[in-house]
Symmetry: C2
Subunit: 199 residues, 2 copies
């Protein structure tokens, strides 16, 4: 039996579909929405529709953008000979926030994950190959996640790109800044020793 | 600096306004929405608007409903001489689920909380008094929360209703069914001893 009025039940169901939102949380969110002023609810609904319909992938780097070409690809001041390959637009943001990188990006929209049925064809790899053929690229930085899927994707791409004779690099592994040695896991600490640099 | 396309930023902001949703979660939810099919996003937006505009308070008990009078108030098979007073529509649902109660309800939409500036005037108390004057009520069950605010509200109402000469009851305090005595807090256990019943 449904206890709430049908529109409330429906809204709870919609919230419960979101990742990480259980039924109790969905209920709480739905009640919050009903206590919001009508124009704020309208803004929320409009934002949902606008994000879906006004956002597309940049035709060059596949980052999410409102325009045909994203701001980074359109920015003439950036180094146009380096491409940083990431799995997800959120990873691109993380790198941008460091302000350490001034090249271009390529967003794969996923990682190779045979267990989840995600093969290379599901990623934006073809688009990357076309860019490398067209543009004058000297270095490709593999900035996929440091987990099994990300590692697999990086190795797969590195092998695929070998014939192009481009310098291919991978983000450095090591101990996180501000961390404690005693709490670093063995694998990370091992990589940090292996990748040690002259002071 | 905003890193995402403006419609994405806007959707993230909207999600971040919800209670218990931080910026990272909002980002995750917004990206999930963008990966949903367009018609599902439309359903979500419609559900938001419908819940806000098609749901109102029952003119008798103040429960949320699509109609002028809610299903419980309209149900002739229910005991029309008992009113169970709750703070919130969610509490009403919790009691309905027990299937132990067959009377009517009254939803206060809040509890008295001087610290948060919520006085009796902010609650649906006037509406309760009008019902008691109009209808033939023999018992009122105070089912506000067992916390300071709920307790204050119950005591305040009980005092207010004394002149009507109606039986006023409060939910029983005691150890939760299925619990362990050793883990019960002192106050609850004390109340359980105080309220002990003959077997």
């Amino acid at each position: 039996m449904k206890y709430f009025a049908p529109p409330v039940e429906k809204l709870i169901e919609q919230f419960a579909k979101l990742p990480g939102v259980g039924h109790k949380t969905a209920q709480r969110l739905a009640f919050h929405v009903m206590s919001m002023p009508e124009d704020e609810v309208k803004d929320f609904a409009d934002a949902l529709l606008a994000a879906k319909s006004n956002v597309q992938m940049c035709k060059i780097c596949q980052n999410l953008t409102q325009d045909e070409v994203c701001k980074i690809c359109a920015d003439e001041s950036r180094d146009r000979h380096t491409i940083c390959v990431v799995s997800d637009p959120k990873d691109l943001i993380a790198i941008e926030k460091t302000k350490e990188y001034n090249g271009l990006y390529h967003v794969l929209h996923g990682s190779i994950s045979p267990l989840n049925g995600i093969g290379p064809d599901a990623l934006k790899i073809k688009e990357l190959l076309l860019r490398i053929a067209d543009e004058d690229i000297t270095e490709i930085i593999m900035a996929t996640n440091p987990d099994t899927e990300g590692e697999t994707t990086a190795v797969y791409l590195a092998r695929l790109l070998r014939p192009f004779n481009i310098k291919i690099t991978r983000l450095a592994y090591g101990i996180p800044v501000g961390g404690h040695l005693e709490f670093a896991d063995q694998v990370t600490l091992g990589r940090a020793i292996e990748g040690r640099r002259v002071l």
